[in-house]
Amino acid sequence: MPRWGMVIDLDKCFACQSCTAACRMENNTPIAGPDQAILGRAILWNEVLPFLEGEYPLVHATMIPRPCMHCDNPPCTAVCPVRATYKNEEGIVVVDYQRCIGCRMCTVACPYAIRYFNWFPPEWPQALKQHLNPDPEVAPRPKGVVEKCTFCIQRLHRAREKAAAEGRTFQATDYMPACVQTCTGHARYFGDLDDPNSLVSKLSHSPRAFRLLEELGTEPKVYYLKQG
């Protein structure tokens, strides 16, 4: 069983936000609109966050693209009262939208605040509505449930189906989330962390590698390569 993980090279990321846009189109995340976004209701499974250190004129800015960390030890899944969110056997943390009761305990428990709640029924401007991803696995989520980055798990399922149809064994390189595929600066790497020969596994052992809030012991599977 692969253990899917991601490495993001902060030296290569130039915060173009194409990952954010690709994620939106791939996963049908609704558009909250500026009024709601200002209230903190935007749903962005992937975000590029500015991390500013110091004060003018000695400011150091780092751009941090932030998908779900898919922790090996996820604080969000333990607190779910109905197992609507869980880590699957390949290490991906997913949500069962049919079962979620909307108590938001997982959103409160996640130290990365990467889990999003549907405050309203999902909405898109007319032009976007015609271009929703038709994959039933990413059908728009109803109001009142939690949703989050899934490492585009539907792509994993499609890649497996394709490999089976073509009569070959599925390779880890067959599958890639939309943000990785679209990354303009080739800053994102994706693959099986348990495969010692995979690029992600090698990069995750780089001396530049770090993880967000590593001290909490959540064991995120998203690694960053330090800038500079």
Partner: protein, 444 residues
């Protein structure tokens, strides 16, 4: 056979046909409740977006209310169960008034959770798919069990008085008499029945005491089990528990003072009772400030980055006004009033109790919101904001109105002072013997 109580007439007096002023009060309370209910329906249809909740402030006033209502519910069990075990005989006249607060505030604790849920219609998923890793399941179990056993405890101690109502209130409307007849379960008031009742209540008191400690501790663990700064502390359980008993006991004072005034029960609810509760309240407010200092000193001295953000936000930042008003309302003013003014003075007792309860609501709010507003990734995410909306206030008002409505209605149909527990003589065990001066049974 019924217990002999010289105050029987006085206690039964409030049970009569609803007067115009009753109807007006019920109409107002019912109106507020229905208004809040419609706000909830609207929220259900449109989505939780009608509240001020957002990311990262996922929990707000509803969860504050939940914690507060469950806290109020600790009044009854504290007075009836813990003081019963401790053999405090003075508690007897106020047991029922206190237990009624428990009984009528618990449903609104549950209702607060329902109002907070994105998908309240899926609430039974907790039974179908429930898993005990989640603190919510602990809550569900503890609160459920607490509610169930509170009903049993309350009902059992009400039994002899329902039977008394059945036999004494012969002028009551038919439906009411039938209600007493059914609810009395054929209680005859045999000495043996009283003996068994006492035994059951003693046993249940022990169980209830354990439950009361568990319930508010697991309520706090909904927060304490997460890694959020400000919540992840072992003190949160005992602190929540103490706060619950403090606000519950203060609520009893308010209820008693109103009952005493409105139903003219001065003779039964004598000033001595208030003086006894006064000592308890002084102890609890001092306990509260002790925990408050212990918690904040530990965090402040440790000076950990993320914890300090939350702490300073409370002390000097966005939440400073609420934080310091809370300290003044729960501790500063009440402790002065209680020590210097409230002895033999019900007005001051009630003032202190009202301040304590407003302060305790603020305390729940100040524990919950600032931690959410300053998440661990604050330098990247920025500070959150939370301003409750009209919908949230309406539902809050409605749940409180609902609680008052149930309480006031109850006092029109059932004696709010336990007649048998305060009786001078209970039916005796010896069949033909001369009357032995038997004091009312207690757990002493």
């Amino acid at each position: 056979m019924h217990p002999e109580n010289k105050h029987e007439k006085l206690i039964l007096k409030p049970i009569h046909r609803p007067t115009t002023s009753d109807r007006i009060l019920w109409f107002i309370l019912g109106g507020i409740f229905l208004l809040g209910l419609s706000a909830w329906v609207r929220q259900y249809v449109i989505g939780l977006g009608v509240t001020g909740l957002n990311r990262p402030v996922y929990w707000g006033v509803y969860i504050t209310n939940f914690v507060f209502f469950i806290g109020l519910a600790h009044s009854g069990t504290f007075i009836s169960a813990i003081l019963r075990i401790a053999g405090q005989g003075w508690r007897k006249p106020l047991t029922r008034a206190a237990e009624a607060i428990t009984l009528f505030s618990l449903p609104f604790g549950v209702a607060s959770i329902l109002a907070d849920m994105g998908r309240p219609e899926r609430v039974f998923n907790i039974i179908f798919f429930g898993r005990y890793q989640s603190p919510i399941l602990w809550d569900f179990t503890a609160v459920g069990l607490y509610f169930l056993s509170s009903i049993v405890f309350f009902y059992l101690s009400l039994l002899p008085d329902i039977a008394l109502c059945r036999d004494r209130l012969t002028n009551a409307p038919d439906w009411q008499r039938r209600m007493y007849e059914i609810l009395a379960l054929g209680w005859q008031g045999h000495p043996e029945q009283f003996h068994r009742l006492e035994k059951v209540l003693d046993g249940m008191a022990i169980f209830m005491t354990m439950l009361v400690v568990t319930v508010h501790t697991v309520v706090s663990w909904m927060f304490g089990m997460t890694l959020q700064p400000g919540w992840h502390t072992a003190l949160i359980g005992p602190f929540f528990l103490l706060g619950a008993i403090l606000s519950g006991t203060a609520a009893v004072v308010i209820a008693l003072a109103i009952l005493r005034k409105v139903y003219k029960l001065e003779e039964v609810l004598h000033i001595g009772l208030f003086n006894s509760i006064r000592k308890l309240l002084i102890t609890f407010t001092l306990g509260w400030i002790y925990m408050m200092i212990a918690e904040h000193l530990t965090i402040g001295y440790g000076n950990m980055k993320e914890e300090m953000v939350v702490l300073l936000d409370k002390f000097t930042g966005t939440y400073a006004t609420i934080f310091w008003s809370m300290a003044l309302l729960v501790f500063g003013l009440p402790v002065l009033i209680l020590i210097f003014k409230a002895k033999n003075n019900i007005g001051w007792m009630v003032t202190a109790s009202i301040l304590i309860n407003i302060g305790m609501w603020l305390e729940r709010y100040i524990v919950i919101i600032p931690s959410e507003v300053s998440p661990r990734l604050l330098p990247v995410m920025g500070q959150g904001i939370y301003l409750p909306t009209a919908t949230e206030w309406l539902i809050t008002a409605a749940w409180f109105a609902g609680m008052f409505l149930l309480y006031t209605t109850f006092t029109r149909f059932f004696p709010i002072i336990p007649i048998w527990e305060t009786a001078e003589h209970l039916p005796e065990i010896e069949p033909e013997g001369a009357r032995v001066a038997q004091t009312a049974p207690t757990g002493d």
